[in-house]
Subunit: 345 residues, 2 copies
């Protein structure tokens, strides 16, 4: 690793001059000197030491990305492909903008913030956080922050939230189910906060439009990491006969459930219809292909980075809550049903 000082000594000039060449301030350096320095830069493949630069500039060029994601408890694998997809989109955009990406897969926001401060990270992207995740955050945190698919108290930090029009997505896919004749619909969610709650509201609105009311027993909540358990799935299986359709808040849940049911003889969509949310790779790959709510993950990632850099660079903008459009993607996991038809055994 050659340093500016090394090169300055080799050429018998000052470090300032070398630094000026590196930063293209060639108006202050003679053509001849520029060439001599550039030759060395090439020859020794100079790369700046960002730690040092970060010290003087008080910024690091790092963007921290924190994922709270469905991660297998024992194996630590990221199971839901949605997160991988999003990560790819974020990474591409962050790099394209000349920044570095540091990731944390955790939902301990205090820990994340410690890391962020430690590294003097320029900005933070939080994915999938809920209100409760923020309660342990003591200090008021002031770094530029963008949330994706999250729900946070406004008091604690100034942020832009990038999400989907979840209410509309849930409304529309519920309408689709209703239009297909379904009346006994189970709503399967991670929790009753954050995006899942918004989706629930959309679901309810659709029901009301059809003169139905949400019954409490139709709301099935399985916290992250529990739906995969045999016991949870068996419980769902036992309840399946009460419904003609399951509306799930993620493709991941939908697919897990669908397979468990199918393995036990429930025919989908003949006996039971299932819908997802996200439109990730899985929904296209399972059979029957999953009817779900589609989104543009690439755009989500790009927008997140875009707003974050605006905040970092101090560009003015007014949005603080961006809702990306959403559309129902009809595939093969829902079949029409006579409204009066009761759920099959």
């Amino acid at each position: 690793m050659i340093t500016i000082k090394d090169m300055a000594e080799m050429l018998g000039i000052s470090t300032t001059t070398v630094s000026n060449v590196i930063h293209g301030k060639t108006s202050e350096v003679s053509q001849k000197t520029v060439e001599r320095v550039e030759k060395l830069l090439e020859e020794y493949e100079y790369v700046p030491n960002i730690s040092a630069r970060s010290l003087t500039q008080n910024c690091s060029n790092i963007i921290g990305v924190a994922l709270k994601c469905r991660k297998d408890k024992y194996t630590n694998l990221i199971m839901d492909p949605f997160f991988g997809e999003l990560l790819g989109a974020l990474e591409a955009e962050i790099r394209a903008r000349g920044y570095f990406m540091m990731i944390y897969i955790s939902n301990d926001i205090s820990e994340i913030i410690r890391n962020v401060l430690t590294w003097n990270v320029d900005g933070l992207i939080l994915v999938g956080m809920l209100h409760d995740d923020f309660i342990r955050v003591k200090s008021r945190y002031k770094k530029p922050t963008v949330l994706i698919d999250s729900y946070a108290p406004r008091e604690i930090m100034n942020y832009v939230n990038i999400g989907l029009d979840d209410e509309k997505g849930a409304y529309e896919i519920t309408c689709y189910l209703l239009k297909m004749g379904h009346r006994k619909i189970a709503f399967l969610a991670d929790n009753m906060e954050g995006v899942d709650y918004i989706r629930f509201q959309g679901h309810q609105r659709a029901l009301l439009d059809y003169g139905l009311e949400m019954q409490e027993e139709n709301l099935l909540i399985f916290h992250p990491g529990t739906v995969e358990r045999e016991s949870s799935l068996r419980e769902l299986y036992c309840q399946a006969k009460n419904y003609t359709a399951f509306m799930c808040c993620s493709d991941y849940y939908a697919v897990i459930l669908m397979n468990y049911f199918m393995d036990r003889g429930i025919k989908i969509p003949e006996d039971l219809s299932v819908t997802g949310f996200d439109d990730n790779l899985m929904s296209r790959i399972v059979r029957p292909a999953l009817t779900t709510v589609g989104q543009d993950v690439t755009e989500k990632g790009q927008l997140a980075v875009d707003y974050l850099l605006k905040m970092i660079q101090g560009t003015e903008f007014s949005e603080s809550d961006v809702k990306l459009p959403v559309k129902v993607v009809i595939r093969d996991s829902v079949r029409p049903v006579q409204p009066e038809e009761s759920p099959k055994e």
Copy 2:
């Protein structure tokens, strides 16, 4: 952000004393002073500035992870869930060991190495690299490096390679197909380098054991990012009738292909058997569930980090090529066939 200097001034003591308390060198500081400093550390939530520490220590506590992965060209999404799974495993282990993780999704190793030097990264984990990826690397690169599922020239860097016993895995799954009566087997790979080539060798060995020889036309190569194309899939579809089984070098390829075929009326496994490699989430979720070669991704990630830290800390060890065990996971995508039976139309 409070600094050591700030606190030293507030207490009217030197920065060294504060630093000593922070590092637990309390034998050099009076109990009373220790307490005064600790009170401030708490109160102002001191976090060290790692950029500064990195400068003095000449190490950064960052581990760089570079993925060369099947990424959708236009959307930049990471499509193969295997990478997400691995990323989760790596992140957990890296953090558990007190390091930070910086990721690059790219196959431009020169660029990666630039980043690594710039950040003074302590070590590097490269995933899925091939020999050719290294040709543009000019300088001899000396940082501790662990490769996962890669194939690199030994001259250019000193590394530990973590992989699977690919030869055995391919051998065994081929034997399984042969035992089931298959004789016309297509071998579908990303390329003829790296792990895919090793897998090919295992495949060939199995064929030889059964007195068969690999026919050139049975080797189907689709470079990353091309197999998803309609034209590639159609080409495969046209060739399908020549085979009774497709052996794929990844679950991703297998699943893509399976679905395309099934959508066009080919019954799997009745008309055609398919096998994968990796055993990621998809293989469990598709129907028919995919018969594939299983591995322990968590262990792969843990071992990679483990060896990397050994290299970083200078612990002696002798391995330079670790092959993790592999086992055939039999599911539902292969059916027995009469050896004399010719491929179905």
